[in-house]
């Protein structure tokens, strides 16, 4: 029993890593579930049970985290960063960023200096948590097709 749990955890982690690698591309849940060798529905349920949030929500936070790094460490425009990280609409990006981080991308950039630490630590240290009061509603990246609520 314990062994099955560990093996599923490891496969879900592998699938999560696949999401991280392709974070700027549209999320293909079926392809990611295939990395874990389980069905799409089972993947979404299991991911949530193990990691505490749905795959869509996780990816949304990771993209925002990446944008926080780019806002602090580079001079790229907010619009360029928005498209760099996989959003297709500047408005959706700004709104999502503000929901999760608590301020607009521009205000965040103004308030933060570059950090001297490897980016993995920087991103982990500034990783946004699910903002209080933000319901776990369906996450849309501004993609053309709306994603169904998990």
């Amino acid at each position: 029993m314990s062994r099955e749990v560990e093996e599923l955890n490891r496969r879900l982690l592998r699938a999560r890593d696949a999401m991280d690698r392709a974070y700027a591309e549209p999320l293909n849940v079926r392809a990611v579930a295939a990395v874990a060798h389980i069905s799409e529905a089972h993947f979404i349920r299991s991911f949530r049970a193990v990691f505490g949030e749905t795959p869509h929500r996780y990816l949304q936070r990771r993209r925002v985290e990446r944008s926080m790094f780019l806002l602090r460490e580079t001079d790229r425009s907010v619009t360029d960063i928005c498209f760099d990280i996989g959003f297709t609409s500047r408005g959706t990006f700004s709104r999502t960023f503000r929901e999760i981080v608590g301020e607009t991308p521009s205000d965040y950039r103004m308030g933060h200096e570059p950090m001297e630490a490897p980016q993995c630590f920087q991103k982990a240290a500034t990783r946004p948590s699910v903002a209080a009061g933000v319901a776990l509603k369906s996450s849309s990246f501004g993609d053309a097709s709306k994603v169904a609520a998990p």
Binding site: S2, L13, R16, D17, D20, R21, F51, P118, Q119
Partner: protein, 143 residues
């Protein structure tokens, strides 16, 4: 006062499998491998840097009861139990070498940053490993 770091540890599920990964895939060398009763004192270290040992630890009796060990194994396989950061002088070359040796769990291919180029990989159990090649700086400049 403390002079050096001597041993750090990594949680693994199986010491033989861990040894195979850290030595045959990642390229570290075996340090200690000594049986003390039921406990296997097993370490690896960076070739040419003998001062720091990485102890490969597996959850279980007698140190942890089985329920605790099961909790630990769950956390390890979720990738929640920390990791290691290494320095290399050729991260892109190492990336190709790791692929040739059969490593597939890359979390991040070599990517350039302001501090250098780094990549991310996981061991078979879920532990995160970062490998960094620092950017060369001119003498006197801040690293």
């Amino acid at each position: 006062m403390i002079n050096k770091l001597n041993v750090t540890s990594v949680w693994v599920l199986d010491k033989d499998e861990a040894l195979d990964f850290y030595v045959n895939k990642l390229g570290l060398e075996k340090g200690n491998d000594v049986k003390q009763g039921t406990y296997r004192w097993l370490t690896v270290r960076v070739p040419g840097d003998p001062g720091v040992e990485i102890s490969l630890e597996a959850p279980g009796p007698p140190v942890q009861d089985e329920a605790t060990a099961a909790q630990l194994r769950e956390l390890i396989t979720k990738g929640a139990m920390g990791g290691l950061v290494f320095i290399t002088d050729d991260v892109r070359g190492l990336y190709e070498t790791l692929k040739k040796r059969g490593v597939t769990d890359f979390t991040q291919e070599p990517a350039d940053n302001f501090y250098g180029t780094d990549m991310g990989v996981r061991d078979p159990f879920g532990n995160a490993i970062r490998i960094l090649q620092r950017k060369k700086v001119a003498d006197g400049a801040k690293a």
